[in-house]
Symmetry: C2
Subunit: 155 residues, 2 copies
């Protein structure tokens, strides 16, 4: 057995090792993308939530814009953001449960309910505070239904 | 002058100081939201770019979905994501130049051009590879026009 290894080979091995580590540390683009969608939904809901809680005065125009954005965000085609192998047992930095991939029909149905709730919220948000709050309840329920079934608890 | 300070007061001061530091370290929600929009645009363009470069085979359906998402993303109302005080001279973690806030009309015009380019790309992406590539050029130019004028170079 030869123990002598040319420096160039060692350098290549080190580079490959570094590359592997780097690839593992890099967030998966699909995971990052779907988390960006969730972050945007959270941002828009935060605007509406602040009004619902009375932290900021109700503003019909601002509320309608936020709800309109939620509609657009619920209409995005997310299929490229959920490739096989990006569940929380196979990838890091995600709480997506493997059940998502064995229940795609149910996930799609839940996404449809979210889309309907967003459309209802869009109609209500610019009307008045009470209408908005009621519609937010339905949207929140749609969020929760999917998170409860398909997202691991925060560790 | 009394130099003696009750421990409870010191504790409160420490907590307030810690709170301040924490608030400064937390990314501004509006900055995080607009960066999420940019990340999503980048994700969709990455799908199209991989086909344009020949890294993956052209797939009309996948291309059309990505382009459709770019249209939705260009239709989002971003007004709540660009509040005063979130330029790169006032906030950390952003390359947004103060000029944005003194040239809102131009920014809006550039956003309009982006929206048109996304619509053209949507029509082209599902047609064939060459049409898609041509339309991507226009979209890329729209991205660059805004970044060149209003984004600080990467440090």
């Amino acid at each position: 057995m030869r123990l002598f290894v040319k420096p160039a080979v060692l350098g290549l091995a080190a580079a490959l090792l570094a590359g592997t580590t780097l690839a593992q540390d890099m967030p998966n683009p699909a995971i990052k993308a779907r988390q960006s969608v969730m972050a945007l939904r959270g941002f828009e809901l935060g605007i509406l939530g602040a009004m619902a809680k009375g932290d900021v005065p109700y503003d019909a125009e601002v509320a309608a814009k936020a709800a309109g954005n939620l509609v657009l965000l619920s209409q995005l085609d997310l299929s490229a953001m959920w490739p096989e192998g990006t569940d929380n047992s196979a990838a890091s930095g995600t709480r997506a449960l493997p059940d998502i991939w064995s229940n795609f029909d149910d996930v799609a149905a839940k996404a449809g309910i979210l889309n309907e709730a967003a459309l209802e919220l869009q109609a209500a948000a610019g009307t008045d505070l009470e209408s908005m709050k009621a519609a937010m309840g339905n949207l929140g329920a749609a969020c929760t239904a999917c998170h409860k079934a398909y997202r691991a608890p925060a560790s």
